[in-house]
């Protein structure tokens, strides 16, 4: 293998599994250490710069970071990264004086943002401090987009959302609410320097089954129904509720139903339990509220008697998987199952729709009638029009929308400066030794087994009486500290300097997880088989040195390195050093 080029920022970035997995690449271990040090405001600000909505995301993030967490590979459960973010948000001081200032004198460039969801608000936040004049248009009465309309208050209190939305709107943003933009042409004619479309995926999918026409009054689209609850147009539901679908919207629908008078609330899903799209913790929380899941049931018909919805019938199926893992649902041949229902909520997916975008504006649409958007610049084929969030590539999540917003803001800034949007600024990185003394490190390098701590919940009887009462109470500071200490500090890198190595094997002998081997070089596939411990996890890189005096090379399998620093402590010559690698995705704000 060729020697690893550690000067390439992506090499060490990939070692920080959580940060690498995060769409916005938030420097997770850095803020977790600050939480352990009770520097909550500092931890919050790192998050705020990176992901804009720490309080919101600390409660609702899809957490792609957690399955990636190294702790999963050496213990079992990942560090509760998401809930630690909330610890920072809950315990911070007033941080308004730390927010970037917005110049009174504008730079003369005008930007329009359609939609006031997480993607648009990120663009606004990234551009306002640079002096851009920003107009936001949204059809809801306040900012936040789906965070306001679709995430129930028992998961995300309005006060938390308002606080973080207002940090942005207070940046001299000209926001117009309760307005439906129904022509992009009209917007473009107002001579904006750039237009950003962040209108989300607002159209819920429905099932057109027999009986729907007669049952229509009691059959609702999940996201629309959640919005009407959030906006207080709806405050009750029938006693018997069927929720169709197995995603997070279905989980929010069933739990909200329980709070609005539902007594017999059931989730009915086509797929097996394991295949349900909802996040595992969302499923757990729904089940903890006593909501049963009926898996492998395919809806067939709305049963209506005397013009009134009586219930639904379902066909039982079994999932079969072919050699490629492709699933087919094969009916078991049993009788149809009938379930009584007063109301049915359909939460089987959503899509974006652009009836308001004229097709002669230079914006190319593909065969699925979706705009063609560049995956890096988020520019459409009309150079002035950008897309981000769910509007760009279909439904994702808040953190992805934020990541899109950052990149779109960079593009818009480049465009307005007359530069090529394809020339992306490099990430900002810093690599610094953590050595404090002979064998002292500036980070807590001791690693101990410690299972993940559970976030306490409010009592269920109270929760079901008040749809606004937040379910999760959050970690108290002492539990937060313990959970923070589970972090393995993967950003403190093991950096190897060949010229200092005397090949004494001390690092090989001490490494608790057998990551290090000194051996003859070879092709990667073969090298992986003859290391101190087999390196079977192909997604994890091998760190290979230049040839040493004995012609061997140092090979380190990054997979289960604990970043405990023992290799560096036992190295007599300082060939190993523990160096903190900070990686910040470039943004318009320094």
């Amino acid at each position: 293998m060729k020697a690893t080029n550690i000067k390439n920022p992506e090499y060490f970035h990939k070692v920080v599994d959580c940060q690498y997995a995060c769409p916005a690449h938030t420097p997770v271990p850095e803020y977790i250490r600050l939480i352990a040090a009770q520097r909550y405001s500092d931890a919050y600000m790192i998050n705020w710069y990176s992901n804009v909505f720490p309080g919101v995301l600390g409660r609702t993030c899809d957490r792609p970071c957690e399955p990636a967490c190294r702790r999963v590979r050496v213990e079992e459960q990942p560090v509760a990264i998401c809930r630690l973010k909330r610890v920072a948000a809950d315990n911070k001081d007033d941080i308004r004086d730390r927010l970037p200032t917005v110049p009174r004198k504008k730079n003369g460039k005008r930007i329009a943002l359609i939609g006031a969801g997480p993607a648009s608000l990120t663009v606004a936040r990234d551009l306002a401090p640079l002096g851009y004049s920003i107009d936001v248009f949204d059809n809801q009465f306040a900012g936040g987009g789906m965070m306001r309309s679709q995430i129930p208050s028992f998961r995300l209190p309005i006060s938390v959302l308002d606080e973080e939305v207002n940090y942005i709107l207070d940046m001299d943003i000209n926001a117009t609410f309760d307005v439906q933009v129904d022509s992009l042409k009209d917007v473009l004619e107002k001579d904006y320097d750039a237009v950003f479309v962040g209108t989300g995926a607002p159209r819920g999918k429905g099932l057109n089954l027999p009986g729907l026409e007669d049952a229509r009054d009691h059959v609702h689209l999940g996201i629309d129904w959640l919005a009407s609850v959030a906006f207080e147009h709806t405050d009750k539901i029938g006693k018997r509720v069927l929720v169709l679908g197995g995603g997070n919207t279905a989980m929010d629908c069933c739990r909200t139903s329980m709070r609005l008078g539902g007594k017999d609330v059931r989730v009915v899903v086509r797929s097996p339990f394991e295949d349900m799209k909802a996040s595992p913790w969302e499923k757990e929380d729904a089940m903890a509220e006593g909501i049963p899941f009926y898996n492998n049931h395919v809806p067939k018909e709305f049963v209506v008697e005397g013009g009134k919805l009586k219930g639904m019938t379902f066909e039982k199926v079994e999932a079969h998987y072919d050699a490629d893992g492709k699933r087919s649902l094969i009916p078991t041949g049993e009788d149809l199952v009938f379930m009584e229902a007063d109301d049915v909520l359909m939460a089987i997916g959503q899509e974006n729709a652009f009836p308001w975008i004229e097709r002669d504006l230079g914006i190319e649409f593909d065969k699925w009638d979706m705009p063609v958007v560049d995956k890096t610049t988020f520019q459409s084929t009309n150079p002035k029009v950008f897309f981000g969030g769910d509007a760009a590539f279909g439904p994702e999540n808040v953190i992805t929308a934020v990541a899109h917003g950052h990149q779109a803001a960079i593009s818009i800034d480049l465009l307005c400066q007359g530069k090529a949007v394809s020339k992306r600024p490099p990430p900002m990185t810093n690599l610094a030794s953590q050595k404090m003394g002979v064998h002292e490190w500036s980070y807590d390098n001791a690693v101990a087994p410690d299972q993940r701590y559970a976030v306490p919940h409010a009592p269920l009887d109270k929760l079901l009486k008040d749809r606004r009462l937040e379910v999760e109470l959050g970690f108290d500071p002492s539990t937060g500290y313990k959970e923070a200490e589970r972090c393995l500090n993967c950003d403190v890198q093991t950096v190897f300097e060949e010229v200092r190595c005397i090949e004494c094997d001390a690092c090989v002998d001490i490494c608790p997880t057998d990551c290090i081997t000194f051996t003859a070089n070879g092709p990667e596939e073969e090298l992986r088989t003859r290391l101190s411990a087999p390196a079977k996890e192909l997604s994890q890189d091998l760190y290979v040195s230049e040839a040493l005096p004995t012609t061997r090379v140092m090979v380190k399998d990054e997979n289960v390195c604990l970043h405990c620093g023992l290799c560096a402590e036992r190295c007599p010559t300082g060939a190993w050093d523990m160096q903190k690698f900070l990686y910040n995705v470039s943004g318009t704000l320094a």
């Binding site: 005397i502 090949e503 004494c504 002998d509 402590e569 036992r570």
Partner: protein, 350 residues
């Protein structure tokens, strides 16, 4: 400074016949200097015991005094241990071995503990052919007292202080051969590929097995003018034929390298394979072994590998015809056979 090794281990660590991973043979975190050769030897002992599927409670590790003699704390944490008086480890092992022949005795000593204060004990344990493994962690200096030259420091070699050693060195392998040792090997802490099979072979040998392991002292004796530095040993080591060790339970498969010059069946049924390079050494001939040692010394090189093996070794138990059962398994009636038996013995001596 870390005072504990994290408990997490690699999830894919191989398990041995007993179902143990290497972790079952590890000890506490080392407090020796970073980079000490002794830690590598500890690592090699851990590997050898794991690969031999030894039961940790069937091993006794004993040592004297010195950096080397601290190391038993850093391996085999679940085995018996005895940290004895300076240079007196051989007599403690002798007592233990006589009382209980069922344990595997691993003596760990240093060049000071063996070649200076313990020289007398060393000589006698060798000539009695006590059934034990005797590992010398040989760094040519007194590391625990700031690196004075030891009795194994080569003449002319200079440690960190800079003065060349004016005295001639004791070659422990040659001494052991002279005293009648039945297994003699030399190795280097920085070469586990050689050291691990040698330790495994020594553990399967019935009788006294010496491994003199050159183990650089990074703090005091890893200098350019030292003959026991990492660099010097790497440049000057000349290995005898390589050694493959096949434990008894492991079927001999063709995956092993073909062309073994010798296959020796050890006392416990395991097989030692020697691959000879173009070397004049015959490891089954004591005179050839001594000649080879002297030749290499003359050329200024270090002969490593298996130097001598007596295939017909008879250990102290064989010679003394001791009890086959450990003393702690004998009944009182066997240990004190009574007045009648005493009268018989007395009568036989009249």
């Amino acid at each position: 400074m870390s005072y504990q090794i994290p408990k997490f281990r690699h999830p894919d660590l191989p398990v041995n016949d007993l179902g143990y991973t290497k972790a079952a043979y590890e000890g506490s975190i080392s407090t020796l200097c970073a980079g000490c050769g002794h830690d590598s030897i500890s690592g090699a002992i851990v590997r050898a015991c794991h690969e031999l599927s030894l039961e940790p409670h069937k091993i006794a590790k004993l040592s004297g005094i010195g950096c080397s003699s601290k190391t038993p704390t850093y391996f085999l944490g679940k085995s018996h241990g005895f940290n004895s008086v300076h240079g007196r480890m051989p007599s403690v092992v002798t007592g233990a071995a006589m009382a209980n022949r069922d344990l595997l005795y691993l003596g760990v000593s240093g060049d000071g503990d063996t070649a200076s204060i313990g020289m007398g004990q060393f000589a006698h344990v060798v000539r009695r052919n006590l059934n034990m493994v005797y590992i010398v962690m040989n760094n040519g200096c007194y590391g625990l007292t700031k690196g004075q030259d030891s009795a194994t420091a080569d003449e002319g070699s200079a440690s960190k202080k800079g003065d060349a050693n004016p005295f001639s060195a004791i070659d422990l392998c040659a001494t052991a051969l002279q005293m009648g040792a039945t297994f003699v090997a030399r190795s280097f802490s920085g070469d586990k590929e050689q050291l691990v099979p040698l330790i495994k072979a020594a553990m399967s040998h019935r009788g006294f097995a010496l491994i003199d392991v050159i183990s650089p002292c990074v703090t005091f004796n890893n200098t350019a003018a030292s003959t026991k530095s990492y660099e010097f040993v790497r440049d000057h080591a000349e290995a005898t034929g390589t050694v493959d060790f096949v434990p008894m339970r492991q079927e001999i498969t063709t995956s092993s390298r073909p062309g073994a010059a010798h296959e020796v069946t050890m006392h416990d049924g395991s097989v030692l394979r020697l691959y000879e390079d173009a070397d004049t050494l015959n490891p089954f001939d004591r005179r050839s072994a001594m000649m080879a040692l002297m030749d290499h010394q003359h050329e200024g090189t270090i002969l490593t590998g298996l130097i001598y093996l007596d295939k017909n070794s008879r250990d102290l138990h064989d010679v003394l015809q001791t009890s086959h059962r450990p003393l702690n398994q004998l009944e009182e009636s066997e240990l004190c056979p009574g007045n009648k038996m005493l009268l018989n013995i007395n009568a036989s001596l009249r």
